[in-house]
């Protein structure tokens, strides 16, 4: 190889291009023209994401408010005392009503008719 300017240019011109991988053409086409269309358009994705974000925001706001109300209620001793009293009375009354067997009344009535 004679190393003058022309020789280098001739060598460059004669230099064959490297062969690309055999499946390059197919992979380019698969990524471009034969690429399957997306299920949703960009506008649809944006709209869906906005609705989802709004729903999440509403859920968070509601959960925060409910948690706040509960926390306020539980920190009020007078309210807790009343609630405790109510539960105790309800339990006490239940001992007299629920503990009676359901079939007791008909049995007693039956007994009175036929002594």
């Amino acid at each position: 190889m004679k190393l003058d300017d022309d020789a280098i240019e001739r060598a460059l011109a004669a230099l064959p291009l490297e062969e690309p991988p055999p499946d390059l053409h197919a992979s380019i086409l698969a990524a471009t023209v034969y690429r399957p269309a997306p299920l949703f358009s960009v506008a649809e994705v944006v709209a869906g994401a906005s609705v989802a974000a709004a729903l999440v925001w509403i859920a968070i706001v509601m959960a925060t408010q409910i948690a706040g109300t509960l926390a306020a209620a539980l920190s009020n001793l007078q309210l807790l005392a009343w609630v405790g009293t109510g539960i105790a009375i309800a339990t006490w009354l239940n001992l007299f009503t629920i503990s009676q067997p359901a079939y007791a009344v008909p049995q007693r009535a039956k007994g009175r008719v036929k002594p």
């Binding site: 190889m1 064959p16 690309p20 390059l24 471009t32 023209v33």
Partner: protein
């Protein structure tokens, strides 16, 4: 170099021009874009391979370049050269990869020709083409891409300048220095 350009022109004369194919592709003709891919996949891969020196990455860049071109086909200016456009996209994709490599790797990119043995020494036993390829691979990136485009495009400095986004004077300087370096590298490999 001119012969290469003539060969390319002759091969393309039978087929429709790039602009026509772009218009057809924009109308949804997938075969038109496939023709463009067939026409330019090899030089695009060649640019990527020379710039990145990695066959796997070159393949990815070639695919990425055509994907970007396909997506932004509407922005292609009528009257512009498709080859310049696609080479430019490929070159910038290569630059992105090189920058990422610089960021994530401690291995410095070769900014000057490697004076030691290595690829040069092994190239002595190879054919001239292989020796030339090895010498090109040893060039700094900015010279390597100019030589690669010169090889692809012939003497069209303006196109090389458009692809690289450099003034034409800089392209000529880079080309001159690239040839100087090539001459030195090839001379050394022949000794």
């Amino acid at each position: 170099m001119a012969a290469l350009a003539q060969r390319t022109d002759a091969a393309l004369s039978a087929e429709p021009e790039d602009g026509t194919l772009v218009s057809a592709a924009l109308r949804g003709d997938s075969e038109a874009f496939a023709t463009l891919v067939r026409r330019y996949e090899r030089p695009v891969y060649h640019i990527a391979l020379r710039t990145l020196k990695d066959a796997e990455e070159a393949r990815d860049v070639a695919q990425e370049a055509f994907f970007k071109a396909y997506r932004s086909l509407r922005t292609f200016r009528a009257g512009a050269k498709f080859s310049t456009w696609i080479y430019s996209i490929a070159y910038h994709a290569c630059c992105d990869r090189l920058n990422r490599r610089k960021r994530f790797s401690d291995d410095a990119l070769p900014e000057s020709a490697d004076p030691g043995p290595g690829p040069e020494v092994t190239a002595i036993a190879l054919e001239e083409a292989q020796r030339l390829r090895d010498a090109i691979a040893l060039l700094p990136e900015k010279y390597r891409i100019v030589i690669t485009l010169y090889h692809l495009q012939g003497r069209q400095y303006d196109e090389i300048a458009a692809v690289l986004g450099l003034p034409m004077g800089t392209v000529k300087t880079h080309l001159f220095r690239a040839k100087e370096l090539l001459r030195r590298l090839l001379g050394r490999s022949m000794q």
